[in-house]
Amino acid sequence: MRTAYRTRLVGAVDRDLIRDTLALGAASAVVGLSYGAISVAQGMPAWVPIVMSLAVFAGGSQFLAVSLFSAGNPVAAVLGGLLVNVRHLPFGLAIGGAIGDTTAARLIGSHVLIDENTAFTLAQDRPERRRHAYWLVGGALFVLWNLGTVAGVLLGGVVGDPDRFGLDAAFPAGMLALVLPSLRDRTTRISAVTGAVIAVAATPFLPAGLPVLVALLGVAAGRIAGAGRTTDVSRTSGAAQTSDIDTTAGTDEVAAAGKGATR
């Protein structure tokens, strides 16, 4: 009976995951639509946004690169785009374990490593749910982002400004909903909030991509602030595991402990 309950619970969780993925995926498709349309409007040949969505698959760097291409500066487009994408390296370090155990899975899975599945994966507490979240969100957004791009190229000028539909608020809100549970941990909260303030304050002075990276200075602040309260923090996260499922940052150790506790 307990096993049946667990199975039903897992099934329900996966349905929720699919629904959440589709909510973010729909928004992603519409942003892809505007990316395709804007690229063509800026004078790019149709293949440019389509190939970039397939081969680069990182929205922020793609928008930046297209505007620099049309300004006649391909070198800046490459360097600027790579700088915007550097954050994926620490993302891979943090959640790379969720992708799979085989080298093939890691090589293929790396291509769909994006902000959205990093956030979804961090929000899961068990290894198998982390793997589902990574591949489901990464795969669905890859397909929808690319379909959106092609549609945008085909529709061109018919596509309006996606901000009119509030999509510029939808993405931060969705990501914030995913990050919120991790912020219950004091060290994480101090690190992240300090980093966010640094990033916003640095934005007018640094090239795109760097402000988000200097936010990592916030991690030092979190460590200093958390250093005197190590026992407190571990007690809090321990309590969170048993009382409430999606509350911890979900390191593999925590995930393993959570799995042990439910069995």
């Binding site: 391909p74 620490p90 993302f91 890691r106 901000d163 940052a249």
Partner: protein, 105 residues
């Protein structure tokens, strides 16, 4: 055409190299416990910085609009009250869209 193709290839290969190096390093390195604990904190810090810059800056400048922060705030409150994720996303978009429709940017 050739320049564009080379530039896109460089961006694609470089981006993949960044992604795969983090993922493969994670599998190879035996990290000390403190560093292993710090990685999710670092990832969350990067994500919140990304969110904050998306809300409060536009094209490299601080932006003091109303519609976008208000939409995100509505989404954040709903998320905090444990509303379903889809509701958070749709409510944030709808709030920003309605405020813009009402003439507030």
């Amino acid at each position: 055409m050739t320049t564009l193709l080379i530039a896109i290839a460089c961006l694609a290969v470089g981006t993949y190299a960044i992604r795969v190096s983090g993922v493969l390093l994670r599998g190879r390195l035996v990290l000390p416990v403190w560093l292993g604990d710090l990685l999710p904190v670092a990832a969350t810090t990067l994500l919140l910085a990304l969110i904050a810059t998306a809300v409060f800056t536009t094209a490299g400048e601080l932006s003091l609009g109303v519609a976008r922060p208000a939409g995100v705030l509505v989404g954040a409150v709903l998320a905090w009250r444990r509303a379903p994720f889809a509701v958070v996303v749709v409510a944030a978009a709808a709030t920003a869209a309605l405020l813009r429709f009402a003439g507030l940017s």
